[in-house]
Structure formats: structure tokens, C-alpha cells
Subunit: 387 residues, 2 copies
């Protein structure tokens, strides 16, 4: 009953502190790149989905879908323009809604994008806005910030000896190595384990280089029915699975703070939908908002047994050329984390890899996965793409 | 290819200044009422869509979909939970996404709800949050508030003599008459034309009683495939059309500030989808954020010729028992306008009317329409329901 869906175009702005541009223009830049890549004109777009976490707090602007459709020059055609939000998983969610719209046959050519402009307010406001992704009444008001929450997970893992501090640091080292090879990345320098271990303590045991940064950026993709994809591109990338799962908003309500059940569920459902197993995946973009989050994700998605992700990382299995390259883009750590854009950037990265267009960070891949997390795992969105 | 969809349950909290409850509990209350009405248990829900405009500003909380799924007791089943936002049209959009999910066959039993808790911050913050529905850079920063923007439309209409001040006031008089017969309404007292004309000037020519209030409230509905609806209810209400249109975010970019082209387009598409005409509609809930907005909506949707809505109102055609009853619920004016909830409340009202359960405001109806506007018309969502 559902139609097969393909990604036919991708576009990302560079990520970083982009003082020179505005929230709306960031999205328009990414959208224009995606349309150009797809060979699609504005006239052909049926609808647009925008992932954005907190423009209300960051730039005092809501009604983001219509704003962006307007500034993309689409207002005269009055197309549906919808913003979706699930904190840091907003981008993945926008892609999923676009896939549903096309798969169902309601629409043909749909743009899914994500954007966040985080540096127009001071850091205190940013941090407080981000705390809106947690349980405001029972976590944020009690003083828990995201570094603090993820630090509790890291502490538990270091305490039960299923992870070493060096293994955790290696996540950042690997992601900076990859980011140095990604033209859009916010941080394009390689670092050493010492860089991580000697950096400022943010929330024990997490240090500055364990944390993803505050970032401006946007990303967009164009999706179409697979049967029409070759009208636009010689290298369509198929959407093999699209899943979404929720969990308790507060970390303290979970059965085990070291397991993100929404990741486990979204991953399990995605593998079932695509009729694939973890061993079939050639690369994965996971949500490494903190180094510990990448460790959890690798295990939650089934790429190794519980407690093995640290060793996998240390052994180089998750590096470029390893058995399962993780975060070839540089991840949130090195690419930067413009919250609403991150989930779409993951789709862009996997698509570029599957097309063989990833330059100095290219891996050998026919099937890739994306894993986008909201908060500490109250929302997880997973996609599997293939050529 | 698409399945027919039915509304099988509805629930609304009372609307008003609800100091005694919280954002999350408001939604849970409405959701529980809708599930009880549908005879559906939490175990049967496949996903949830939440319409909310600005919880980030009003209660410092984002990630609203997961929060609400959690507090509704659904976290253990890890169902997809998605927030959508299009300013004051967020509720209509949540309903539309739920309809798409069910129509496409992706899911069966879906909850669509909307919620806003606006009174936990002072009025200045509320007004500024609401200004985020307009173009922040080119309207709000220049000092334009929503009363100011709609006042410009009203001024243009009074100036071209297609409307009188008394006709405008009659919109409020009618909606208060209806609201006095609606148990959930924030304002349940009848008023006279003199009440409106003697009330404080807000933005000339709009007076206090031309404006919808600041309100806390939530509403929820349960949708299901029509083929399964009778498992749950003897009185399913069919979704005959679901459409959405966008326009320029700024009012000054329109070809004519008195015509909301997104209303015209969404209405036209809805009539085409349902194969109906305006004369087939027995009642309509329109987005009367200001009295002038109801006047525009009646004309934009085609219920009368341009310039005739004032006279239609004066003649009683839009009153209970008139040719085309408008806002039997009391509308945003008397019911109150908890922004994200309003679009869902409209669905609840039309459903109640079609089921014959509208008590003292019951009209004779088999087909009803809802019209939900974001900002000054940058987003419009229209639905047609029928029995």
C-alpha cells in the first residue's frame, strides 16, 4: 500500500558561529543547495517539513514552517509548511514526516529540513533553552543540565567497569578526525586523547571535549517517490526504514539510565521494517551529543553486546575503515549541533557516503543508518537508507 | 489508496485561567476524556500528535510530544509522539497529521491533541510570545502586535464601507451568546453591542470585546480508520477533507490585506476534496481571534460574496438557527483561545454538533467545517466532517 521513497537531493550550510546570517536565511541557503542538488525547482515542491527545537527561545520566532516557506519563495503557491519538534530529534522527525507524506501518496516532492540559530542569545539563555528538552519541572528546575544528566550515565558506566575514561575520550578523538575531513564541520582539527583528558571539567566525568558545542546551521533534503526519482537524479538513495519511539521524559524514570529504551525500540523496529540486521549496516550516524551518548547508541542499536562499545571504539572498529564506521561526518561533537538541523545533517551524510561523494572521509557503503535522539532519549528517530 | 478516517472520541478541559493545574496535566485531562468518550484504552493507541505553539516561552518546556505521552502513561509502549507547530493553527495541524497517519495505513488509533498554558507568565511575556507567530524581524520588532495587525484589516474594511462598526460588534455578541451555552467556555455571559462599543480601545478600531483572550486549556480527539470506527462508537464522524495552505508570514507582503489567500486556498482545496460546496456546509467553526477575522473567514471560505459577511452577521444568518451557524462553540472570542488547543476544540465542537450532543447550542447539522488560522494567515488548516 505504501510507496517506496528516495532521497534525491541534499544540502547543508557550514556549521559554526554564523554571525553573518539569520535564522531564516540559514534555512534558505540549505534548501537552495538541496534543490540544486536534486535538480528540482520551487514550482515542483508539494510541501515542506521543518525540524526546529526552540526558535521561540533562540530568536523569538515561532510559526517557523510558514516563515521558511515564505522566505524560500514558496508563499505564492500556498503549499503546506509544517514545523515539527522533538527537541534534538526534531530534524529526524521532519524527515520522517516527509517520508510518510510521500510514502502515503499524499504528496510527491517534499522538502525536509532542519535549522537552529543558537548564538544570537547569550550562553545562559542557550543553556536554559536546551534544558527545555528535559523534564522542566522534575529535572531542569532541580538544577539538572544535559551535561549533568549524561554525566550520570557516564559515571554509572565507569563505575561498573564496562567503559574506561580513555575509551570515552577516543570517541571524541575519532569524531574530530572525521570532522577534520568534513568541509561543513564546526571543528576541523584533529585532537588527541590528552586534548580530551586535559580539557576543562564540565560535569564530572565529562570534560569540554566530551560535549557537542552550541552551533548555528541548517540542512535540507528533497524526497520523492522512488518511481519518480530517476527523473531528477542518477543516484537516488532509498529509504529502507523510518521509525520513531518515545520514552519517559525524565532520565530518573527509566528502568536503567544506561539503556535508552527508545533507541532499542526504534532500532529494533527499523531492522524489522528493512528486514536487515546490524551486521548489514555499513555505516551509522549516531547522536553523540556527548561521548557517552555514542557509547550507549552503539550498544542500544545492537552493533555490539552491552558493555562492548568502549572496546569497539578503542580497537578502531568505529573509525573510518573499521567494521562499522560511526559518525563519519564528525558527529555532533566535531560537526557541531545546531539542534533542529542535526537529524537532517545525518541523512545528508549517509546519502553522500552511499553516493560515494564523501571525499576524504569516504567509506565503502551500500546501507547506512541514522539515529537522532531528543533529550536523554525521550524521543528517538531511526532511518535506514540504501542504494 | 487512502483509507477513510473517522473521529471516534472527543474531550476538552474547561477553558480559562486555570491556576490549579499544569501544562502537562491539562493535556492528560483532555486526553483521558477523549479516550473515555471513544472507549479506547492506552494500550490501543498507536501514536500521538500534539499541537502547541509556544510552551518554550510560556512554561519553558519543549519536547512536548514525549512529555505528554509520558504523563499519559504511554512511555512504556514507546509510541511515536510528535509535536507540530504553526502558531495558532497548531491544533488543526496536529489533527491533520493524525488523519494522514491513519489514512495512509501507517497507524490505526491515533490521538490528536492541543494544549497551551498561557497564564503562568505575566501578560507582557504572553504578548511577546504571541508576537512570535508574526514576522519577528519585520513586524514584531517594528512594534506590530496581533491586535494592531488585525486592526489594520478592520480599518481597511470600515474605510471601504463594506462593513459597519455595529456589524463587527455583532460578531462578538453572537459568539458570547453561543459561549454562554457551552460548558467549557471561558466567558459564559451574553453581551450587547453596547458592551463591545463601550469597552476599552485596544488597537483602533478593535476594542476589548473584539479580541479573544489569553487562556489555559487543552483538547484531544481520537481518530481511527472508518472501517474500525464502529468497534468503538455508534456515532463515528467522518473526515471528508483535510487541507493546509501557507502564505507570506508578514501581512504587508499580501496582495490585499483584507483577503487571507491561505484561507481561500485551503477552503477551495477542501471543497474539492470533499466534492462539496459552501451551501452544503451546515455549520462552521472559524478562527475568530478578532471579530474582523470572522468576517474575513466567512468571505474567504465562500459562504457569501466579498463585502457581505457583515450584513450576513447583522441579519442573523450566522447565529444559531441561521442559514450558516458560525462558531456555535462561542469561537475563540467566548470559548477562549489556548492557542495550541483551539484547532482541536473546533473539531470537538463540530463532532459534538454532528452527533447531536451540543445541548443548548445544538443546530441541525450533518456536515460541518473547521477553519484554523496561524498568525494573520500564514498558515490555514481546514477540515470538513460529516455523518
Amino acid at each position: 500500500m505504501m510507496r517506496d521513497v528516495a532521497v534525491i537531493g541534499i544540502g547543508c550550510t557550514t556549521f559554526g558561529e554564523k554571525w553573518e546570517t539569520s535564522f531564516r536565511n540559514l534555512f534558505v541557503e540549505a534548501g537552495a543547495l538541496a534543490l540544486e542538488d536534486a535538480g528540482v525547482t520551487g514550482e515542483e515542491i508539494d510541501s515542506i517539513y521543518v525540524g526546529n527545537m526552540s526558535a521561540g527561545r533562540f530568536v523569538e520566532q515561532e510559526h517557523v514552517g510558514a516563515l521558511i516557506a515564505d522566505y524560500a519563495g514558496l508563499a505564492t503557491r500556498h503549499i503546506p509548511a509544517t514545523r515539527v519538534e522533538a527537541a534534538c530529534a526534531s530534524g529526524g522527525l521532519a524527515f520522517r514526516q516527509a517520508v510518510i507524506a510521500v510514502a502515503s501518496g499524499i504528496e510527491d516532492i517534499v522538502v525536509a529540513g532542519g535549522v537552529e540559530k543558537m548564538t544570537d542569545v547569550d550562553t545562559g539563555v542557550s543553556v536554559d533553552a536546551l534544558a527545555g528538552a528535559a523534564d522542566r519541572e522534575w529535572e531542569s528546575f532541580a538544577g539538572a543540565t544535559f551535561p549533568g544528566l549524561y554525566a550520570m550515565i557516564a559515571t554509572a558506566r565507569l563505575h561498573d567497569r564496562s567503559l574506561t575514561r580513555g575509551q570515552l575520550a577516543q570517541v571524541a578523538v575519532k569524531n574530530h578526525y572525521n570532522g577534520a575531513r568534513n568541509p561543513i564541520a564546526q571543528f576541523r582539527q584533529e585532537i588527541s586523547i590528552e586534548t580530551v583528558l586535559n580539557s576543562s571539567l564540565v560535569a564530572d566525568p565529562l570534560r569540554l571535549f566530551d560535549c557537542s558545542p552550541i552551533t548555528d546551521g541548517a540542512a535540507a533534503v528533497v524526497v520523492a517517490p522512488l518511481e519518480r526519482a530517476r527523473e531528477f537524479t542518477d543516484s537516488p538513495v532509498r529509504v529502507l526504514a523510518s521509525t520513531q519511539a518515545s520514552d519517559t521524559i525524565a532520565l530518573h524514570d527509566r528502568r536503567d539510565i544506561c539503556i535508552l529504551d527508545a533507541s532499542v525500540e526504534a532500532g529494533r523496529r527499523a531492522f524489522a521494517q528493512a528486514r536487515l540486521e546490524p551486521k548489514d549496516i555499513d555505516l551509522v550516524e549516531v547522536h553523540d551529543c556527548f561521548t557517552i551518548a555514542e557509547i550507549c547508541a552503539i550498544e542500544d542499536l545492537g552493533f555490539c553486546a552491552r558493555g562492548e562499545a568502549g572496546r569497539l571504539t578503542e580497537d578502531g572498529a568505529t573509525a573510518l575503515g573499521g567494521d562499522i564506521p560511526v559518525n563519519t561526518s564528525g558527529g555532533l561533537k566535531a560537526c557541531g549541533h545546531p539542534v533542529g538541523a542535526t537529524g537532517i545533517k545525518q541523512i545528508c551524510e549517509v546519502t553522500a557516503q552511499l553516493r560515494g561523494e564523501a571525499g576524504g572521509r569516504q567509506v565503502d557503503a551500500e546501507i547506512g543508518m541514522t539515529h537522532n535522539v531528543g533529550g536523554t532519549g525521550a524521543t528517538v528517530v531511526v532511518h535506514i537508507l540504501g542504494v
